[in-house]
């Protein structure tokens, strides 16, 4: 859901960049953001695969997916940079901003969840003490 939100956001931003800076910058930003989203979704897939698995299998899948993700990002960002297709900095900015946006979106959710899990133990001042006399 967050990946879709970030994808829509990146399209909107690239439209603004298209109006301000022109086509090349816009395509570079959109491409960088697309690579970032794919990379981020692969992280989410890996995490969902690792839940409930043994440590050795988890380490294998985690290590392999990490290497594959890094390889993909290197090739997908490296080829346009090597061929000098479009501005490299704005492409990298699109890639990095996906991670930034996902973190900004996800941190409040994670904080809420952790607060809810801690919230089970209420502070002593808010606890109601019930005593019965036998």
């Amino acid at each position: 859901m967050y990946a879709v939100f970030v994808a829509v956001l990146s399209v909107l931003i690239s439209l603004i960049v298209l109006l301000v800076y022109g086509g090349g910058h816009s395509v570079a930003l959109l491409y960088g953001a697309s690579v970032g989203i794919l990379s981020f979704v692969s992280t989410a897939f890996t995490v969902s695969l690792l839940t409930g698995r043994s440590t050795s299998v988890g380490m294998m899948v985690g290590g392999a997916s990490f290497a594959a993700r890094m390889g993909f990002a290197t090739v997908a960002l490296g080829v346009p940079a090597y061929l000098d297709l479009w501005p490299v900095v704005i492409m990298l900015a699109g890639f990095a901003s996906v991670y930034l946006a996902e973190n900004v979106l996800l941190v409040p959710v994670l904080l809420g969840k952790s607060r809810a899990s801690i919230g089970g133990a209420q502070p002593a001042s808010e606890r109601i003490e019930r005593r019965t006399e036998v």
Partner: protein, 79 residues
């Protein structure tokens, strides 16, 4: 006898069976990316659009292979 025992342990899903499947999934993962990248490169050479389809092939191959690994490991996990 030894042959039949190892065959049985393979069929029953022992350690060797899992490793074999993981290696197969890993090889397929690389093959899907390489195949789609290759198709993209050939298309680019035919149409003269280098590197449009090459980049699409890399991204599409990564996404497709990721989905493949996800489905296969879900099956292996039994869920």
């Amino acid at each position: 006898m030894i042959h039949s025992m190892s065959y049985t342990s393979f069929r029953e899903g022992g350690m060797g069976s899992d490793h074999g499947r993981f290696i197969g999934v890993g090889v397929a993962f690389i093959f899907i990316i390489a195949a789609l990248t290759g198709v993209g490169y050939v298309l680019d050479n035919l149409l003269g659009t280098l590197p449009l389809f090459l980049l699409l092939g890399i991204a599409g191959g990564f996404a497709a292979s990721l989905y493949y690994v996800y489905v296969q490991l879900k099956k292996l996990g039994g869920s």
